[in-house]
């Protein structure tokens, strides 16, 4: 599992492409800055700048990917870094830098490519919005920050970009800030992720205190390389855990906030208040995956001290949190009626799968699901956007229906996305990536719990997706007006993504585990024989049964009849209290409301009281004292020093020539004071140094 242990030797000297890697995030950021200066009506220019800059970044990303790939095919794993000292205090330095290795190269291509498609799609989706230019400014800034997260070779640089990404997420969720719900959702997202970020920051500071560096890789001296890890393992923290474990868990807390893991998932469904392209780009494909990417990036820290065939405390926590989130969110998704909310909970659930995959099977397993999910979830969100666009901004699935005829292209691509997400066997990429996770879970030594949770989650995934597709595309039309197909600029990206939702599976099959070999740095062999092995066949069969059961059950419940909006759901009739609990999202928000938020409100009142009654008084007193002192000082300088002599002169003399005398008089006072100062200083000094 460890990268490069049994694979190729690392090639670390920075090549030309690594030297210019910083351009990838810099170009969209500069574009964002330029767009910010544009006037509102310059829509075309804004869109051109945003798309052009990201296309340019995509080209460089492809070149970087090609460089890594050519290194890999010629037999050495590429991990090139470019570091520089950002600031220095005393003997410690804080270094920043970027890294080009298979992990960052893959993410770069994915983010720039999916991002580019969503940018293009946005020009259609946002065509009628008056704040079109502002939208593209934020999107570009987001792309730059996200790419910064990807290339960062320093936990600090990663954290800076991480916070920038959080900021743009806030800005874009609240893009329609006139709607109170959007403003509230933006605030909620910002504050909830901040909870995770505090722990993340603690982890960063702790790591710096322990190792003296925040670089990931630095020719053996980086924070997650062997020397530093040995030190971290030896350093005890608390409760019998090593510093490595605690720091790993703190960083995971940050990742959990960004990736919507339990118990910090509450912000992600609300984030759907943002425009749909934002949901697709940020809250499905890229930003929410940043947490998963972070865990993959610091994986050596997570697995430090792992016994052969065993696991570590940190990875066990990651696994359980991921598996629990996967089931928890899938359960809630079953009882939602908003088309985007269903997808949002599905995203939370799938992120849980990725985390579990990282915990159980290593970087390659988790990252493969991340990449395939990015494509098919972006596809689903953009498909949902196309549907919403086509049915005049309606989002309730009960008020849709029969759209497969009105929107054939959207339907076809959406169906592909749905089957990929459900993990329909063999054809779709989602099957292979989810299969990898389930396989790793089955082999887990410490517990079979995660495996059963994930299997249950898979059934639910197939169920809620079938329910959604049945509601939206089958049955009779239940909405108002006429549904229409979306313009080409929106459907073309859908088709491209649909292609990848299928095709990506090829690189991760057991017979040709290219993805894993590439990430872990060893040669990939094609062994079709693997398909024939009984182990694989059993798993294939199990997966197929799970998926078909989910889809079949869903079709039975929802596909065969056309539901009426006013009528209760089939499952609701079966178990009303359970359904109500699921529909109300298992009361997590309410629970936070009566605990944390109530506590903070009470604490704010106490602080307010202290501020007004206690500190306020002290501050007023200090201000008063200082302003008196300042006035005295001015009085001393202006009146006593300057004016004192003036007054004396005024009284003594009169008439012309006063001004000249006043001026020379004032200077005399100055000089007299100078002499007094010298005498006083000399007296103090001689007195203080007497033997």
């Amino acid at each position: 599992m460890m990268q490069g242990t049994n694979g190729f030797a690392f090639q670390t000297a920075a090549s030309g492409i690594t030297q210019i890697l910083w351009l990838i995030p810099a170009i969209p950021m500069v574009a964002a800055g330029v767009i910010a200066l544009l006037k509102q009506p310059r829509r075309k220019l804004a869109a051109t700048l945003a798309i052009g800059s990201l296309a340019f970044s995509l080209l460089i990303a492809l070149a970087a990917f090609g460089h890594v790939l050519s290194g890999w095919t010629s037999g050495h794993a590429v991990r090139e870094t470019a570091n520089f000292t950002w600031l220095q205090f005393g003997t410690s330095t804080v270094d920043l830098g970027w890294v080009l290795d298979p992990l960052s190269a893959l993410m770069l291509v994915m983010v720039t490519f999916v991002g580019l498609l969503i940018f293009i799609y946005s020009t259609g989706y946002m065509a009628h919005d008056e704040n079109f230019t502002r939208f593209f400014c934020f999107l570009s800034l987001f792309a730059g920050a996200m790419l910064g997260v990807v290339i960062a070779n320093s936990l600090l640089l990663l954290f800076m970009c991480w916070e920038l990404v959080g900021l743009t997420s806030y800005l874009l969720i609240g893009f329609w800030y006139q709607r109170p719900s959007a403003a509230a959702a933006a605030k909620k997202a910002f504050l909830t992720t901040r909870v995770g970020d505090i722990f993340f920051l603690l982890g960063i500071v702790w790591l710096f205190a322990q190792t003296g560096t925040l670089l990931f890789y630095n020719g053996g001296a980086g924070g997650i390389e062997q020397t530093a890890l040995n030190g971290l393992l030896a350093a005890p923290a608390a409760l019998g855990l090593s510093a490595a474990t605690v720091i790993g868990l703190l960083i995971f807390a940050g990742a959990a906030g960004k990736s919507g893991q339990l118990p910090l998932h509450v912000w992600l469904p609300d984030a759907m208040e943002g425009p749909t392209p934002v949901s697709a780009l940020i809250h499905a494909a890229t930003m929410v995956a940043a947490g998963v990417y972070l865990v993959a990036r610091v994986y050596p820290l997570m697995q430090a001290g792992m016994p052969a065939g065993g696991t570590t405390t940190a990875l066990t926590v990651v696994t359980w949190v991921g598996a629990a989130t996967a089931v928890f969110a899938a359960l809630i998704a079953v009882a939602q009626n908003d088309i985007k909310r269903i997808l949002a909970y599905s995203t939370v659930s799938q992120l849980g799968y990725m985390m579990a995959g990282l915990g159980l099977g290593g970087v390659a397993v988790g990252m493969f699901h991340l990449i395939t999910h990015a494509f098919f979830k972006a596809l689903l969100f953009m498909g949902a956007g196309s549907v919403i666009h086509g049915v005049h901004e309606e989002q309730d699935v009960r008020k849709m229906g029969g759209l497969r005829k009105a929107m054939p292209l959207t339907f076809a691509t959406y169906a592909i996305g749905m089957l990929a997400l459900s993990g329909f066997p063999i054809i779709f990429s989602g099957f292979w990536s989810k299969d990898g996770i389930l396989e790793a879970a089955k082999d887990a030594h410490f517990s079979k719990g995660p495996f059963w949770l994930l299997v249950f989650g898979a059934v639910l995934t197939a169920l809620y997706m079938t329910r959604q597709v049945s509601y939206v595309f089958f049955g009779k039309w239940r909405g108002h007006g006429h549904a229409h197909e979306s313009p080409k600029v929106m459907t073309t990206p859908l088709a491209i993504l649909a292609f990848f939702a299928i095709a990506l599976g090829v690189i991760g099959t057991p017979a040709w585990p290219w993805f894993r070999s590439f990430l872990e740095g060893h040669a990939a062999a094609v062994e079709f024989g693997k398909f024939g092995e009984s182990e694989f066949l059993v798993l294939l069969l199990t997966s197929t049964v799970i998926v078909l059961f989910g889809i079949g059950f869903g079709w039975l419940l929802y596909g065969s009849k056309s539901p009426v909006p006013e009528e209760r759901d089939v499952l609701e009739k079966a178990a009303p209290p359970v359904w109500a609990a699921l529909r109300d999202r298992l009361y997590v928000d309410e629970f936070y409301g009566v605990t944390f938020i109530a506590f903070y409100k009470w604490w704010a009142k106490v602080a307010d009281w202290l501020d007004r009654r206690v500190w306020g008084g002290i501050v007023v007193l200090v201000i008063w004292a200082f302003s008196r002192l300042a006035h005295f000082d001015r009085f001393f300088d202006n009146e006593w020093v300057n004016g004192g002599f003036d007054k004396g002169c005024e009284e003594l003399s009169s008439g012309g020539g006063l001004l000249a005398r006043v001026q020379s008089g004032r200077t005399q006072t100055y000089l007299r004071l100078l002499a007094v100062a010298v005498v006083v200083l000399a007296v103090i000094l001689i007195w203080s140094s007497r033997p």
Binding site: T85, W86, L87, Q88, F89, G90, T93, F626, S627, L629, A630, H631, D633, R634, D637, V641, Q663, R666, T667, Y670, L671, L673, L674, A677, V678, L681, A682, I684, L685, I686, S688, S689, R690, P691
Partner: protein
């Protein structure tokens, strides 16, 4: 005495003086009939070229300096080179901001005097001998008196110059008096010999004569850096002098004078490997002498930091509190300059012979100098537009010239020490250096005072910014700014932001000499 060597070492000064003569020649001989604007631009450009030539000459220096009989008179490299580069860069920026000013009909003379004063600054930065130090100081000071008086149509300018001159003359007398005592105590005018001699001067404690000599020296230098209680000239001079002259006084003169203070503190410490107090004596291990341990009076070691601490605390308190009550932005900047001098003096009081202290102080004074020049540039523009430097002249500046207001915002926030601007790192480095040198209660308490006073300073900087951004404008007519001036101001603001975002760049540059 090797005159060839002397010529090589003083090449930067020579370059500046030649440039000054060239400026006079061109202005008086060829441009007599030309428009004032052309003459100003020509003089400024020639002056900048002179500065660049001198910078090149500083960079070209290879020897350790100019010595007579084995004693260093003018040093090269290290602190001296950084300070000289600083003097030249800041002089060049000041000259660039001169381009659209119209306070004088004699731009050639103004630039020539500026360049000659700057050459005095170069001498001070490098000097290691009391007499050379004095000559450098006078060369600089006399230039500054003339520059202050250059606003010949303004009565304020003449008044300010006269006050400055009288105060300066008195301080110079004190300084020279102090130097003569030092010479008497040590028998040498060479700085390292003087310091060594003062340790030997008496076997029984510090002599009152040494104390008096040091107080007199500090009075003379305290005048140059505008430290309380030797600051009384500063508010009047800052208020009355033409804006470019005020900027020059506030920046270039400060850099050179603080370089001299660093030299003195460094010389007082650098030849000792270690020292410790024992029954009224200091036992010192001298690096160069044959005798490994010497018993000395605690002379320089205790007295010098103590005086510096006293004037540092006085400067921080007087400067910051008096600034609160000012209504003129120039006077406000003068008091803020006194406060900044107080912070730097704290760094000099807790000084280490390791390069860290000197680097932190140079970092502070260079960035402070640049920021102040920018601030005076903005004030100059506002004065030309409104005829006043009162706080209310800045009302609604962001509507009248958004870019100018943005520059002012960046510069003032940097002066207040707000991250990520460069002023924050300057303060951070300086205070960190103080704490790393001095352990125990007092350094901590003094740094705490300095930080508290920085917080106070934010109030008066925001007073100006509040008028520029928040309070309603009285007059909304746009202010026209000469493109070159705007460019220089924006470049200064950009430098303040960039140096703040990448603090290591400037640190490395300073350490590279």
């Amino acid at each position: 005495m090797n005159y060839g060597e002397l010529f090589r070492v003083t090449l930067p000064e020579t370059a500046l003086d030649l440039a000054a003569l060239l400026v006079l020649l061109v202005d008086l001989a060829f441009l007599r009939k030309a428009a004032l604007q052309v003459r100003v631009a020509m003089a400024a450009v020639l002056g900048v070229v002179g500065c660049l030539a001198a910078m090149w000459a500083v960079g070209m220096q290879t020897s350790a300096g100019f010595s007579v009989d084995g004693l260093l008179v003018l040093a090269n490299g290290g602190v001296s080179a950084v300070a000289q580069m600083g003097v030249l860069i800041l002089t060049a920026v000041t000259l660039l901001l001169l381009i659209d000013s119209s306070f004088t009909k004699h731009p050639g003379e103004f630039v020539a005097v500026t360049l000659m004063a700057a050459s005095g600054g170069l001498v001070i930065s490098a000097a290691r001998d009391l007499l050379v130090i004095f000559i450098g100081l006078e060369l600089l000071s006399i230039g500054l008196y003339i520059l202050t008086a250059f606003g010949k149509t303004s009565a304020k300018s003449a008044e300010a110059a006269l006050k400055y001159y009288l105060f300066g003359g008195m301080s110079a007398a004190f300084l020279l008096f102090g130097f003569s005592y030092l010479y008497g105590l040590s028998g040498s005018t060479n700085l390292s010999r003087v310091v060594l001699g003062t340790y030997m001067a008496s076997a029984h404690g510090a002599t009152p004569l040494l104390m008096l000599a040091l107080v007199l020296v500090v009075a003379g230098l305290g005048f140059k850096v505008a430290a309380a209680p030797f600051h009384l000239w500063a508010p009047d001079t800052y208020e009355g002098a033409p804006a470019p002259a005020a900027a020059f006084i506030a920046s270039v003169s400060k850099v050179a004078s603080f370089a001299l203070l660093i030299t003195i503190s460094h010389t007082a410490l650098h030849f000792m490997e270690s020292f410790h107090f024992k029954g009224g004596y200091v036992t010192v291990r001298v690096l160069s002498a044959g005798d490994p341990e010497l018993h000395m009076t605690p002379g320089f070691i205790t007295a010098w930091p103590l005086i510096l601490i006293l004037i540092s605390v006085a400067s921080m308190i007087v400067g910051n509190l008096a600034a609160l009550a000012q209504t003129s932005v120039r006077r406000l900047l003068a008091y803020s300059a006194i406060a900044h001098a107080g912070y730097i003096l704290l760094g000099l009081a807790f000084f280490s012979w390791e390069p860290r202290s000197a680097q932190a102080i140079l970092y502070y004074i260079l960035t402070y100098g640049l920021t102040t020049i920018g601030a005076f540039g903005v004030i100059g523009v506002v004065e030309r537009a409104t005829g006043s430097d009162k706080l209310d002249a800045f009302l609604g500046l962001h509507k009248r010239s958004p870019l100018l207001a943005a520059v002012l915002l960046i510069l003032f926030l940097s002066l207040a020490g707000i991250p990520p601007l460069v002023g924050f790192w300057a303060k951070f480095n300086l205070f960190a250096a103080v704490l790393s040198v001095g352990g125990g209660f007092w350094p901590f308490a003094l740094v705490a005072l300095a930080v508290a006073m920085s917080a106070v300073s934010l109030y008066y900087y925001l007073q100006v910014l509040k008028r520029a951004y928040v309070m309603p404008a009285v007059d909304e007519t746009p202010i026209r700014v000469h493109p070159v001036t705007m460019l220089v101001l924006v470049a200064i603001a950009a430098a303040v932001v960039l140096a703040g975002c990448f603090p290591a760049v400037l640190q490395n540059w300073i350490a590279s000499f």
